[in-house]
C-alpha cells in the first residue's frame, strides 16, 4: 500500500538527492586530504641567507578543519625529519607576506611559508635540505614528496629596488638643478633667521662680548652636525672679519677636531689668520647634562651677546636656550630634531625649522652650486606632493571598487625591507 511515508518511490529519490546536496561539501572536507599540489620549495629571495620558502596552490577541500604541516630534514640525513609548523589550512597566504609586486615569487592566492633560522631551527647556507608538506584532517593525512632546496645569501635585495631608483631620480634632479643654477640666478626666499646672523655678530662686536656657537648633540656621521659645522665656517668667516671672540664648546672630540679646521680655514679666508685662537673650539664632556651645566655656566659668566644652537638636540635644548634668554643674548637656533622645535621657537629669537638648517649654507654663501641644490630639494618636495595626492586617490579607489591594480603604483612608493 502506498502512503505518503512510503520510501520506495519518488520521495525516496528526492530525499537522497537533497541529502547528497547537503552532505557534499562535508564529504569533500572529509575526503580533502589529498597531497598539496604545485608545491615549490626554494631559497628565500632577497635575504642574507638562512631561509627557505615553501609555496603551494590552494586545495579545493581546504577549510578550518584541515591543517598543513611543514616538515624539514637535511638532504643527506632524510630520516631525521622535524615538524616545523602546523597551522589551519585557511591561513598563511602569500598575500599576507609584505613584498612588492616585482619580487613576489608566487601568485597572491597561493599559500606561502617562510622557514627562517631562529627558534628550534637552524638553516646552514649551502647545505641541502628537503621539505615535506602534509595535509591533515583528524586521523587522515596526505603528504607530498620531499622537495629539495638549498638556502643561500643574496647579493641584492630587490625589495629595495624602488628605494634605489628614487635615490637615483632625486640625485639626477639635484645635479640637473645645480647645472641649471650655474646658468641663471635662482630666487631664494628670505629666511629671517639667517638674515639675523650678521645682525647678531654685529651686536656682539658693538657690545664687545663673545659669540657662543653650539653644534648639537650629534656626532660627525649625522647630517645635522655636518650642516652645523658648515654653517660654523660661514659664521666664523664673518666673526673673523669683525674680530669678535668666538666660543665653540663641543660634546664630541671628532666634531671638535673638524670644527677647529673649519674655523681656522675661515679665519684664513677672511684674511685674519692671526686672530684665530686654537682654544675657540674646546671639548667639555660627552655627558648630556654635564655638558649642559657647563655651557649654562659659560653663558652666565661670559654673557655672550649672541648664541647659535645648530644641529640636533634632545632634552638639553630648553635648559640651554632658556638660560641664554635669561642673559639677554640674541639667540638663533636651527635643528632637524622636530621634538625640540617647540622649545627653540619659544625661547629663541629666530629658529631654522628642519630643512632650513640644510639650506643655511647655500643661503649664506649664495654660491650657484649650493643654491641649485635647494631648487633640487624643492622639485623633490613637489614630486612627493604629487605622489601623496595620486596615492591617496588610488588607495581610496582600490577600497571603493575592490580592485588591486593600484598596488602597481602604491608598492613603488612603499618602504619594503
Amino acid at each position: 500500500m502506498n502512503t505518503v511515508f512510503d520510501m520506495t518511490g519518488w520521495p525516496r529519490k528526492l530525499i537522497l538527492v537533497i541529502s547528497l546536496v547537503i552532505a557534499w561539501p562535508a564529504c569533500l572536507w572529509a575526503a580533502g586530504v589529498a597531497a598539496p599540489r604545485e608545491v615549490r620549495v626554494f631559497d628565500t629571495p632577497n635575504d642574507g641567507g638562512g631561509g627557505l620558502t615553501v609555496a603551494w596552490a590552494l586545495e579545493p577541500g581546504e577549510g578550518p578543519a584541515t591543517h598543513y604541516q611543514i616538515l624539514l630534514a637535511e638532504a643527506k640525513d632524510g630520516a631525521a625529519v622535524k615538524q616545523l609548523a602546523e597551522f589551519p589550512a585557511n591561513s598563511h597566504y602569500a598575500k599576507e607576506i609584505k613584498s612588492p609586486w616585482w619580487t613576489r615569487p608566487v601568485p597572491k592566492t597561493y599559500h606561502q611559508y617562510d622557514i627562517k633560522t631562529g627558534k628550534g631551527v637552524e638553516l646552514k647556507d649551502g647545505t641541502a635540505y628537503v621539505v615535506t608538506l602534509a595535509m591533515t584532517n583528524g586521523e587522515e593525512r596526505a603528504e607530498t614528496q620531499a622537495a629539495p632546496a638549498t638556502p643561500g645569501p643574496n647579493w641584492i635585495n630587490w625589495n629595495q629596488a624602488n628605494n634605489l631608483l628614487l635615490v637615483l631620480l632625486f640625485g639626477s634632479v639635484l645635479f640637473a638643478s645645480i647645472q641649471a643654477a650655474k646658468k641663471r640666478e635662482i630666487f631664494l626666499r628670505r629666511i629671517a633667521g639667517l638674515d639675523a646672523v650678521d645682525e647678531a655678530i654685529g651686536r656682539a662686536t658693538e657690545l664687545g662680548k663673545p659669540i657662543l656657537y653650539l653644534t648639537g648633540a650629534g656626532d660627525m656621521s649625522e647630517p645635522s652636525t655636518i650642516a652645523a659645522a658648515v654653517i660654523l665656517g660661514r659664521v666664523a668667516k664673518r666673526v673673523a672679519a669683525y674680530e669678535t671672540d668666538l666660543m665653540v664648546p663641543h660634546r664630541d672630540p671628532i666634531v671638535m677636531a673638524v670644527c677647529q679646521e673649519i674655523t681656522k680655514q675661515s679665519y684664513l679666508e677672511a684674511g685674519k689668520p692671526d686672530a684665530f685662537k686654537e682654544d675657540s673650539n674646546f671639548f667639555i664632556t660627552t655627558d648630556q647634562f654635564s655638558y649642559t651645566a657647563a655651557v649654562d655656566g659659560i653663558m652666565l659668566r661670559r654673557k655672550p651677546a649672541a648664541n647659535f644652537f645648530m644641529g640636533s638636540y634632545f632634552a638639553e635644548s630648553l635648559l640651554l636656550t632658556e638660560t641664554g634668554a635669561s642673559t639677554g643674548a640674541i639667540q638663533i637656533a636651527g635643528t632637524d630634531s622636530d621634538h625640540q622645535l617647540p622649545f627653540f621657537v619659544t625661547t629663541c629669537d629666530y629658529t631654522l625649522i628642519g630643512e632650513e638648517l640644510y639650506a643655511a649654507s647655500a643661503y649664506l654663501s649664495r654660491e650657484p652650486v649650493q643654491v641649485g641644490t635647494l631648487r633640487g630639494q624643492d622639485i623633490g618636495k613637489g614630486i612627493i606632493l604629487c605622489v601623496l595626492g595620486i596615492g591617496t586617490i588610488l588607495a581610496t579607489s582600490g577600497i571603493l571598487f575592490g580592485t588591486e591594480f593600484q598596488t602597481l603604483f602604491l608598492d613603488f612608493f612603499r618602504d619594503v625591507k
Binding site: E261, D336, D338
Partner: protein, 216 residues
C-alpha cells in the same frame, strides 16, 4: 700637499660614500661583516679622539688656573675631580662593586654623578613653566592661536579638564593626530630630503666646507 689635504680626503669620501650607500641594498653576510668592521674602526678612532678632547679640556683649564682668570676656582675643582676620579678608577680597575660591596669609584658615580645629572634634568620642569609663561602671552595672532591650542590640549590631557569639558579630549586628539602629526610629517619630509641632498653633495664633492674651507 694639495693631494693629501684635498684630493685624497675627497677620494676617500667618494669611495666610502658609494660603498656604504650600496651596502644598504646588499643583504649578503659579507656586507654586514664589512659594516660591523667599519663600526669597530669608528669606535677605535672615537677612543683616540677622546684623548684629543681630554687634552683640550686640560689645556683650557690649565691656562685659566695659570692666568688666574675669573672663575679659575671652578677649573681647579674640575682638575681635582677629574684626576681624583681617574686615579680611583685605575686603582679599582674601573669596578663599581667588588663582592657586592660598592667601591669608591661606584660611590662617586652613584652618589655624585647621578644626583648631579638628576638635578640638571629636574630643572627642566621649571624652565618649561617659565618658557610656557613667556610664549603663552597673546601678543600676536600666532601667539593667541598657540595659547588657545595649548589650553585645549592641557584640558584634554588632564582628567579634571576632560571631566569639566568632556569634548576637550576629542578635540585634543584631533589637534594631535591631524594638525600636529601632519605638520611634523611635512617637516620630516623636508628634513629627509635636505639630509639626502647634503649626503649626495658631500659624497660627490660638491660640499667641501667640512674639510676646512671652501674653494681651493
Amino acid at each position: 700637499m694639495i693631494f693629501f689635504r684635498r684630493q685624497l680626503p675627497l677620494l676617500i669620501t667618494l669611495v666610502t660614500g658609494i660603498v656604504f650607500a650600496a651596502q644598504y641594498y646588499v643583504p649578503h653576510p659579507a656586507s654586514e661583516e664589512m659594516l660591523t668592521t667599519v663600526t669597530k674602526w669608528l669606535q677605535i678612532i672615537g677612543g683616540f679622539a677622546l684623548v684629543l678632547g681630554v687634552t683640550s679640556l686640560f689645556h683650557i683649564h690649565a691656562v685659566k688656573i695659570r692666568r688666574k682668570e675669573p672663575g679659575w676656582g671652578y677649573s681647579f675643582v674640575l682638575y681635582a675631580a677629574m684626576l681624583g676620579t681617574i686615579a680611583i678608577g685605575l686603582w679599582l680597575e674601573g669596578k663599581e662593586t667588588i663582592n657586592g660591596t660598592m667601591t669608591a669609584f661606584g660611590w662617586i658615580y652613584n652618589f655624585m654623578m647621578v644626583p648631579l645629572q638628576g638635578t640638571m634634568f629636574a630643572i627642566l620642569a621649571f624652565f618649561i613653566a617659565s618658557a610656557a609663561y613667556r610664549s603663552f602671552r597673546a601678543r600676536s595672532r600666532e601667539a593667541a592661536v598657540l595659547l588657545i591650542a595649548a589650553i585645549i590640549v592641557m584640558m584634554g590631557r588632564v582628567p579634571l579638564g576632560e571631566y569639566l569639558v568632556p569634548i576637550s579630549g576629542d578635540i585634543t586628539q584631533w589637534i594631535l593626530n591631524v594638525l600636529n602629526a601632519s605638520v611634523r610629517r611635512a617637516i620630516l619630509i623636508g628634513v629627509s630630503l635636505g639630509a639626502v641632498a647634503l649626503s649626495l653633495k658631500i659624497i660627490f664633492g660638491v660640499e667641501r666646507a667640512y674639510l676646512g674651507g671652501g674653494k681651493e
